[in-house]
């Protein structure tokens, strides 16, 4: 065990070097998510009483599919950064690596599943 204090070990190392990037990306995706979410709510509202065939016809429209795909990408990137921030602040030290992997995996799965579904509905004939 080193006799150096944690502060002594950290001092002089500088910052990790990518904190500002994440901060900025969080802001950019917050603005894109805000705009995209308004459209998403409108799309979901119009589908509230639709039949299955009508839902598929709506998602076959490239504007709807594209808008929803951008929404998912923006949401998932934003929530990835946000969850990572929570893990770094509150995650117990020994859990940080595992939680980071879980966060990455969860976000990738959500994005992959949503995008696959949207692409299938855009290209696929009902």
């Amino acid at each position: 065990m080193s006799i150096r204090t944690p502060m002594g070990r950290a001092r002089g190392m500088g910052a990790a070097g990518h904190g500002v990037g994440e901060f900025w990306h969080q802001r950019v995706t917050s603005v894109t998510s805000l705009v995209l979410a308004i459209g998403m709510i409108f799309i979901l509202l119009t589908l509230a009483t639709s039949t299955y065939a009508e839902v598929r016809a709506t998602f076959a429209n490239p504007l709807v599919g594209g808008w929803m795909a951008l929404t998912v990408i923006s949401f998932v990137y934003h929530m990835y950064i946000g969850a990572q921030e929570v893990i770094m602040e509150y995650g117990p030290k020994t859990w940080k690596l595992g939680l980071t992997l879980a966060n990455t995996g969860f976000c990738l799965m959500i994005a992959a599943a949503c995008l696959f579904a949207l692409i299938k509905m855009s290209f696929g004939v009902l």
């Binding site: 065990m1 802001r27 917050s30 509202l45 509230a48 299955y52 598929r56 998932v76 949207l118 509905m121």
Partner: protein, 130 residues
């Protein structure tokens, strides 16, 4: 000598402060963000079900038409709107506006009023449409 026998004293955390609206809205922002994180599972389910076929979509529609489904949608919509309104407040703060004690308190109270009001308006539209 180098072994620390007792945990080092830490600076006091939130428990020593009286609950303030700014503090509550800070917590709400993070809580709604985390809730939306897991709530994305429901949006994903619905999209994948729609892509899978009428049978899977029928199951998803049955769930979202149930009491629990309405609770999920109500929670997701309020969470999304609250996080969005709170996010706009954060963006305004990032510009250096409204950071004084009085202004931040007004913004905090305005955030919860706006998020609840917009959610009620949205669900009134849902009730009219559906």
């Amino acid at each position: 000598m180098s072994q620390i026998q007792k945990p080092r004293p830490l600076s006091p955390h939130i428990m020593i402060y009286r609950l303030r609206m700014t503090m509550l809205m800070s917590g709400f922002h993070r809580a709604t963000g985390l809730a939306l994180y897991f709530g994305m599972v429901f949006l994903t389910w619905w999209l994948v079900a729609a892509a899978s076929g009428p049978n899977a979509f029928g199951w998803a529609s049955w769930f979202f038409g149930s009491f629990l489904g309405y609770i999920v949608m109500l929670g997701f919509s309020w969470g999304l709107i609250h996080h969005a309104v709170g996010g706009v407040r954060h963006l305004i703060w990032d510009l250096g506006i409204g950071l004084s004690k009085e202004a931040s308190m007004r913004w905090a109270i305005g955030t919860i009023i706006a998020s609840v009001a917009i959610t009620i308006l949205l669900w009134l539209v849902v009730l009219i449409v559906a």
